[in-house]
């Protein structure tokens, strides 16, 4: 490779690296494009919910599935793609607003506890299958085979179907 060509190639490489770096710095955390499944404990008396109903449950406005079964909210800790989708698509809040929202709800005696926070999808699978009334959001492909969780339809759709709203 001649001198000018080598210089041009190096400049192009540096420009590409700089663009990648700037892109990585400037890009806000993006919701994963992969579909997220809403999963519940297998005994939960629900098969299909609208997105508005899911939002009501996660906001703590609905606290009981029925008189015997309280709702138990489980969410992933920050940074996980499931967390991003929960905040962006369901709560429509930033991390700060999410924290402040639950402090206010408990202060107003509208809730007794915040959602349980977990650090892995495996724990979500274990907890949702173990706790009656539990509900969470997990990547559809992260539902462990053999786990006793129930995947529910959102607006009549399952993850992977066209127009599925949680991704």
């Amino acid at each position: 490779m001649s001198g000018p060509l080598r210089v041009r190639a190096r400049a192009a490489g540096m420009a590409a690296a700089l663009a990648l770096l700037l892109g990585a710095l400037a890009a806000p955390p993006r919701a994963a494009a992969e579909p997220m499944a809403v999963i519940v404990h297998p005994d939960t008396p629900v098969e299909n919910m609208t997105l508005a109903e899911v939002r009501r449950v996660f906001l703590g406005e609905r606290q009981y599935w029925n008189a015997e079964t309280p709702v138990v909210l489980i969410v992933r800790a920050p940074v996980a793609p499931e967390r991003t989708v929960v905040l962006d698509r369901i709560y429509r809040m930033s991390e700060s607003q999410f924290k402040q929202y639950w402090i206010a709800r408990i202060f107003r005696a509208e809730a007794t506890s915040t959602p349980k926070v977990v650090y892995s999808n495996q724990t979500i699978n274990e907890l949702v299958s173990a706790i009656p009334g539990a509900i969470s959001l997990v990547r559809a492909e992260a539902i462990l085979p053999g786990t006793k969780v129930k995947r529910i339809k959102i607006d009549g759709l399952l993850p992977g179907e066209a127009n599925y709203p949680l991704r």
Binding site: A52, R62, A77, I106, A109, T114, K116, V118, T123
Partner: protein, 368 residues
């Protein structure tokens, strides 16, 4: 004997003892409220009862004013501990203790203390001492100063004020109403009403044989998260100089949009008093409108705000002895971190018969 000694002690001392006793009784399962950290799948799955959680609120203020009624300089705000304790799967306790600086000491108070049984979302019943569900501010913010955007509360619910009975001792049923996407809810209670001091609930029994009652309806539409609209009606018989008393009707309406960009709150509270055995009614009215806007992007911690409020007290009212007033407030709130903020607020108050006063408030507030 110790119980007798305690009974003989001044009220603020008894309250302080109760405050310390409550803290000393905190079980091992005590932890601060917040996002719970994961332990293990098995550990998290197992609920333990009781499970006491405590959250605190406090603030420090600075005032510069030309009003003789407002002290200048640094002021400690209330030190508030909010307690939540699930006692069983469907039974919970909520409590709130405050320590308020006065001229020569701190005054301890049990602000809220009630036990609640949840049958389901449609019916929850509780008994104890509450923030009276009249209007919006009284239940949404009250002693949680960090929760409110502004430094000062509106005059109609100001600390120590008597415009409405801010606390309610009695029994309350509450829940959701089947209403589709309207998100209707209700709250209905019967209790002691105002005490001998009209700013207080009847903590140690009713001062007459007439119970107060309240009904509140709320709407939080599913498709407009952040919107709340509500109305309430409250009724009591308030003792005046014996043997006289006054019938009291309080009616309120509010709308609040709390998504912050913008935040809009409007609240109206009307009060009607009628002295038993005399003709004539005394109608007083109070309202405020507040607007705030959390700035976008890098200035996201900043929220400028403004509020206009007006209070018109009926001339000759048998309970109120306060003048009409209007207040214009403007300020800025900066959230330094998720749980602490500083605020700067200018307040211009026009009081009937006393003229106009100006106050600059600075405040650091937090929850912990």
């Amino acid at each position: 004997m110790p119980a007798l000694m305690l009974r003989a002690a001044p009220r603020h001392l008894r309250a302080a003892c109760a405050f310390l006793f409550a803290l000393s009784c905190a079980p091992c399962a005590l932890h601060a409220q917040g996002m719970e950290s994961e332990t293990s799948a098995a550990g998290t799955a197992e609920e333990t009862y009781p499970s006491l959680k405590i959250r605190g609120f406090t603030d420090v203020d600075y005032a510069a004013t030309d009003s003789a009624a407002t002290p200048d300089g640094f002021q400690l705000g209330q030190f508030v501990l909010h307690l939540t304790s699930p006692l069983a799967r469907k039974v919970s306790f909520f409590g709130e203790l405050s320590m308020t600086p006065s001229g020569h000491d701190f005054h301890a108070e049990v602000e809220r203390s009630f036990i609640r049984y949840d049958y389901n979302d449609l019916f929850k019943i509780s008994v104890g001492r509450y923030h009276t569900p009249i209007g919006y501010w009284n239940t949404a913010y009250h002693h949680g100063l960090w929760l409110q955007t502004t430094v000062r509360r509106p005059e109609q619910v100001k600390f120590g004020g008597i415009y409405i009975p801010v606390h309610f001792v009695g029994l309350v049923a509450e829940g959701k109403l089947p209403s589709g996407g309207l998100g209707l809810g209700y709250s209905a209670g019967v209790g002691n009403g105002r005490g001998e001091d009209p700013s207080r609930g009847g903590d140690n029994g009713d001062v007459n044989t007439n119970r107060a009652w309240i009904v509140q309806l709320l709407s939080r539409p599913f498709d407009a998260y952040g919107l709340e609209a509500g109305a309430a009606l409250y009724r009591d018989l308030v003792p005046l100089t014996a043997p006289s008393s006054a019938r009291e009707w309080i009616y309120s309406a509010h709308v609040a949009w709390t998504r912050e960009s913008p935040e809009l709150i409007g609240e109206f509270i009307g009060v009607e008093h009628e002295v038993v055995g005399l003709s004539g009614k005394y109608d007083s009215r109070s309202f405020y409108v507040q607007a705030a806007y959390r700035l976008p992007g890098a200035a996201n911690q900043v929220k400028p705000y403004t509020r206009y409020e007006r209070m018109e007290i009926a001339s000759g009212d048998p309970i109120y002895a306060q003048p009409d007033l209007q207040v214009v407030t403007g300020g800025i709130r900066v959230d330094l971190i998720d749980v602490a903020a500083v605020k700067a607020e200018y307040r211009n108050q026009l009081t009937e018969g006393a003229g106009r006063t100006n106050t600059l408030w600075l405040q650091a507030c937090l929850t912990f």
